[in-house]
Amino acid sequence: MKSLFASHSPLSAPDVQLDALHKLELIPFSERVKNAGLEEIKPLPISIIQVNLGKMCNQTCKHCHVDAGPDRKEIMSRETMEQCLTVLRNSNAQTVDLTGGAPEMNPHFRWFVEELSALKKHIIVRCNLTIILANKKYHDLPEFFKEHQVEVVSSLPHFTALRTDRQRGEGVFSKSIEALQKLNAVGYGIDGSGLLLNLVYNPTGAILPSDQKGLESEFKQRLKAEFNIDFNALFSITNMPISRYLEFLIESGNLESYMEKLVDAFNPMAVQNVMCRNTISVGWDGTLYDCDFNQMLDLPVNTAKANIRDFDEHALGFRSILVDDHCYGCTAGAGSSCGGEIA
């Protein structure tokens, strides 16, 4: 399977994606927020800086909002990483969330983690699991993560091979299980180790995620019984109607009903806690965004200078957060963020 970008799909263009949503003539997200009697979504002090180390990945998942894959070559340079470190040295943000693609495929990944570790930041790596087995040079990632007390967050959409492989590719489930066992072997996900291993559940289809606690309990029971796997928490994340997931919705004839579901499930309580309020997302080229999804839709932060080299925490604190109809994905039901439910 190729990325939308490599297959020259019109949907690889962000404006085409937004057009597809606008054609549905939903109540615009900003209006829905207003109708609920809420104020415009305003930034809080930045506590998380999420850094996208590149679109390169060893997998091509069907729902990927990054349109990542082996055919994507865009990765963050060491110079941009150095600019990130300069910002982080002077920032009160205590958490750095590394994402991709597969962030480990960036040749400067380990150096960057070591530098972040020296800054005493809490480091999250969004590890797709299979990367640990993909090449000999990645086999020691569990030990490397442990050395730097990295929190590992990994997607596992289901505890069955059928549903996981349907979303993430043939054979991904069995490799993911093997990788989880390797992480457990060094202490990840084991009570008392202090090494956090959290899993991410994304629905495999045009459905919304259900109660996070209930799903977590079932995942824990099934993974323990069948594979002797332990983990800390399950983050239940709604699929955003952008990029490859949007392509799936259009091709399967589910776009309209999925968006109606998101709109009907709009939860004002979730609006208060959306992640764009306390997070800044940094693209592979240093561009700043309100969130990872705005990054993929090429909607940079609404400030005079939107690049990490010109980072101005004060100005960012007064920016208007850019919203559009994809934002319904973060406010449906119990809400959704990179850390799971928010309401």
């Binding site: 069955t160 629905p203 459905i207 919304l208 259900s210 209930g214 109606e260």
Partner: protein
């Protein structure tokens, strides 16, 4: 194409109060309470609802509870097993009447 069942009509279910608000309110209040976590979990109730939807052959209910059970984490295999329970009971309900048929036949025949 015009059909008796339009999937879009399901969205208008909540508007039945237009022709009788009091009973509609009572029904939806009751419905909401039935599906809450209680002695049975909301998750278990969803699967029962899917099985019953097949028994009463309600297309709206089948759509709604296929989606709901999948969202609640059931697998396709589990959904199908629930429908086989429906089928077993429906089929069994016919077949068990053969006892009456047999009894009557034995009474009538030499």
């Amino acid at each position: 194409m015009e059909t008796y069942y339009d999937p879009k009509d399901l969205k208008n279910f909540s508007k039945i109060g237009e022709f009788g608000q009091e009973l509609a309110d009572k029904f939806f209040d009751y419905y909401g309470n039935v599906f809450k976590d209680s002695a049975l979990s909301a998750r278990e109730k969803s699967l029962i609802a899917l099985a019953v939807a097949h028994a009463v052959q309600c297309p709206y209910c089948i759509d709604a509870y296929t989606s709901d059970t999948l969202e609640k984490g059931y697998t396709e295999e589990q959904l199908m097993e629930a429908v086989h329970v429906t089928t077993a009971i429906r089929g069994g309900a016919s077949l068990v009447h053969s006892v009456q048929m047999m009894k009557q036949a034995k009474k009538l025949m030499m």
